[in-house]
């Protein structure tokens, strides 16, 4: 016989319960020990991205983060310098990526000009659609104002040069960026 304990009803219930309780205890313990670090890592990631897409600021945009019910899942991080607004970073997405949602963080100056954009999460094809997160594609948005620089690819009548052979990803990127602009100004 392999097992010394017979499979009686009582034994089975007792062992299953015992194992489940022990597992729950250990998992709870691991959770309490790791949650702070996990939260810190998440915030680090966001604040690094915010710093990359906005000019210098001296407040804590994460602490002043707000949301807009009209734009679910978007996040807005206002930056200030010496008490004056320095810009806002908007975390937005577009569902029209080639392979699922495309998430970006876009930094807008108070007058609406794009300071910088960063592609944060996507499932686009490596080497093709993923180039929408790199220069030169991303460079064309810097210092442009969506009022004059139409956030659509040239094929759709806009001002944006799409990534060669990655029109869908480029379109999705523009969509995410124009949504970010609309969300900020409406």
């Amino acid at each position: 016989m392999r097992k010394k304990i017979p499979s009686t009803f009582i034994n089975m219930c007792a062992v299953l319960t015992g194992i489940s309780l022990s597992a729950s205890f250990l998992l709870g313990l691991a959770y309490t020990k790791t949650q702070d670090a996990i939260e810190r890592v998440k915030n680090e990631k966001i604040i690094t991205a915010v710093r990359e897409v906005l000019p210098e600021f001296d407040n804590d945009p994460l602490a002043e983060k707000y949301t807009n019910a009209a734009w679910p899942l978007f996040e807005f991080y206002p930056a200030k310098k010496n008490g004056q607004p320095a810009g806002t970073a908007v975390r937005s997405y577009s569902p029209d990526g080639f392979s699922g949602n495309i998430w970006i963080i876009a930094g807008f100056l108070p007058d609406g000009t794009i300071f910088n954009v960063k592609l944060t999460e996507h499932g686009e094809t490596p080497g093709l659609g993923s180039k929408s997160g790199e220069m030169p594609f991303i460079g064309q948005f810097i210092n442009k104002h969506p009022g004059h620089f139409i956030l659509k690819v040239k094929k759709d009548g806009g001002s944006v040069d799409a990534v060669t052979a990655a029109t869908i990803s480029s379109r999705a990127f523009c969509d995410a960026l124009s949504r970010a602009y609309s969300a900020l100004n409406k």
Binding site: R2, L16, A23, A30, V41
Partner: protein, 199 residues
Amino acid sequence: MSTVKTFFNGIVKENPVLVLLLGMCPTLGVTSSAENGLGMGLAATAVLVGSNAAISAFKNLIPDKVRIPCFIVIIASFVTIIDMVMAAGLPEIHAKLGLFIPLIVVNCIILGRAEAFAAKNGVLLSVIDGIGMGIGFTAALVTLGSIRELIGNGSVFGARLLPENAKTILIFIMPPGAFLALGYLIAGVNKIKTRVAGE
């Protein structure tokens, strides 16, 4: 089986990926680069060693009829703990492996070794089996990841090996290429094995 034989069993003779054909899902899914393969291999090894040890230690306390649910709870607990530890301590690799870390729970290698080995052997031997199988798994993943990364991206572990403008075959970084590369790898290993057995 002796300890040494147990250890090398998982690396060569009964390599979980190349011989037993277990754990195909993460093998195909995360080997788009050598580094990802290494990360997944090490994470799965950690779970395998832990679960083999725990199951072997309690093998006489677990009634036969409920052994599978008990094994699964033990395995899932280890995976969840490793997932949290990686999210806290190794965020980059955790983000790259993503959904495949929780999928370690249903990695057939882990449940397979629990049922076939840990439930019937002592703790020390089970730990060694776990380490051996884990190394075999990691080696297969790193090999496959390196091949795919080299052909599809011209680099291995991030270090560019091919010149910048060399033509790479992008499909090797994507799922169909994973099947192709794995198929050839298994064929190659089989060929070597027949040749070695014939000598």
